[in-house]
Amino acid sequence: MSGDGHPAIEARGVGVTLGGRRVLTDVTLSAARGRWLAVIGPNGAGKSTLLRAVAGLVPREGEVLVDGTAVDDLRPRRRARLIAYAPQSPALPPDMKVYDYALLGRTPYIPYLGSESPRDREVTRSVLERLDLDGFASRPLGHLSGGERQRVVLARALVQQAPVLLLDEPTTALDLGHQQQVLELVDRLRLADGLTVVTTLHDLSLAGQYADELVLLAAGRAVAAGPPERVLAEPLLTEHFGASVRVEPGPDGRPLVHLVRPLTSRMTPVEGT
């Protein structure tokens, strides 16, 4: 909780209709300062739309508050100083240099027709150094590997210096090692800077390992919310994912989710009992 008792980010009664289709209905979420909230749910449940709605990128019903302030009352520039957003598949112009891409994060601080100040350059440089990207500064985005790309996108979001970070599937298209590296990095930055992180994550074990709190979306509604141990419960997952799973506590006590083949499909001649 922040000093005056408001959650760092709060969304109340969020509803979204896109192209005549109801995508989200009455979703509520909140995260205290410095906490990590993960939005989980089956494909098409509306996870990405929820993040975009919170970021103010799609028309929505309901309220979004940052530290108690309704973002709808803010000008876009002010809002962008409070909420940074990294989409699942960010547009990365292949010729743009890493430094210039990260510098885009300063957009909400640069006057409309002005240009960046020495301070904007300084912030950008220090973030690149922090993410071990200073050696990449003059490399075009088209020449980066998947893990490097994800770090660069993260750098742009950090350069924005917003207290709330919305990351849509930050581990998409990364191998195991890079998934872990990126999430560890997000966690380090969160702890160091007191950032509030809201991610969508399709990998339930990763969500359980990193997030303090989970929101389970199904068919556009929040059907469960709370700490991982509560939300990652076998009956809930079976019901909403239609999957046969086993949940067991990992070494740190946080739940690990395993897929288990349904018994009915195990009846093969070789293994016959």
Binding site: L57, A84, Y99, L104, T107, L113
Partner: protein, 346 residues
Amino acid sequence: MRGDAVTPARRGRALLVASAVLAASLAVGLVAGAAGISPRAIALALLDRLPLVSLHSGLAPVEEGLLFQLRVPRVLLAAVVGGLLATAGAGYQGVFRNPLADPYLLGAAAGAGLTVTLVVVFLGGDAGVTAVPVAAFAGAVGGVFLAYALGHTAGRGGGTATLVLAGVAVTSFLTAIQTFVQQLKVEELQRIYAWILGDVGGGWDQVRMIAPYAVVSTVVMLLHGRLLDVLSVGDEEAVSLGLHAARVRFAVLLAASLATAAAVAVSGLIAFVGIVVPHVVRRLAGWSYRIVLPLSFLGGAAFLVLADTIARTVLAPAELPIGVVTAFVGAPFFVTVLRVTRRVET
């Protein structure tokens, strides 16, 4: 740390080189020509026109008249038209995030083609000649407006793809009408085509006419360079960065269309400048619109001055339409730049 692709120093260097290229092409454009006036005399005559400078160029009054009433305005007009078309091309490419976007994309050319045809066919004679620039300007603006209105009502939120499709529809529709009107009066065909293929010999009147539009549209486009860079990550991400993406797009679209209309009004439809020049600039100086826009203006100006010089000298005393030269010289040049820079990159 290196990698600041748009540092003031680097931008300054690029602008300096491009300005030198433009100055050289202006010099070539002033010197080349039928009368054979010496470069030295031209330089002296130009310096003489500066305030507080008094020099004797040794030019005969006829030569001086030719220089200041024909050649200087012609070279200036070519420079301004080339600069406007190339900057508008870069602007459209940024707004639509599409490398194939050009100044005529949104129906500007078809609109101007139709109104000019109408004026030539139905007004005819001298009245038709004086009305051509006004008609071209109105037609270009009208064509863009039509495409914009259509794209806006057809696609919610005015997405760029819808707008381009609307431009294509408007272009075919207006071209159909133009062709129909043309066939009613086949004897005017040559005059219509002469206008379509372009010409920058309009003199001081047209330089004065185009100046205010050129200044306003160019300044607006140049001021939006950084914002077009932000827009290059797409509307949604640009909005998440606090940018009013629709407003930026509208401002640049308006300025680029004004620049196109002004160029079309005084020079006809000169193809290829708006698409070739920005791409050559990108290859040589990088992706950022903060560099691409100003360099496109300088490069487009230099390119059209040289193209016009070729147009009026190769078959002298006859003149080639300038649009023929831009395509004939521009296409191979474009391909060469693409090939050479790719080899450097890899």
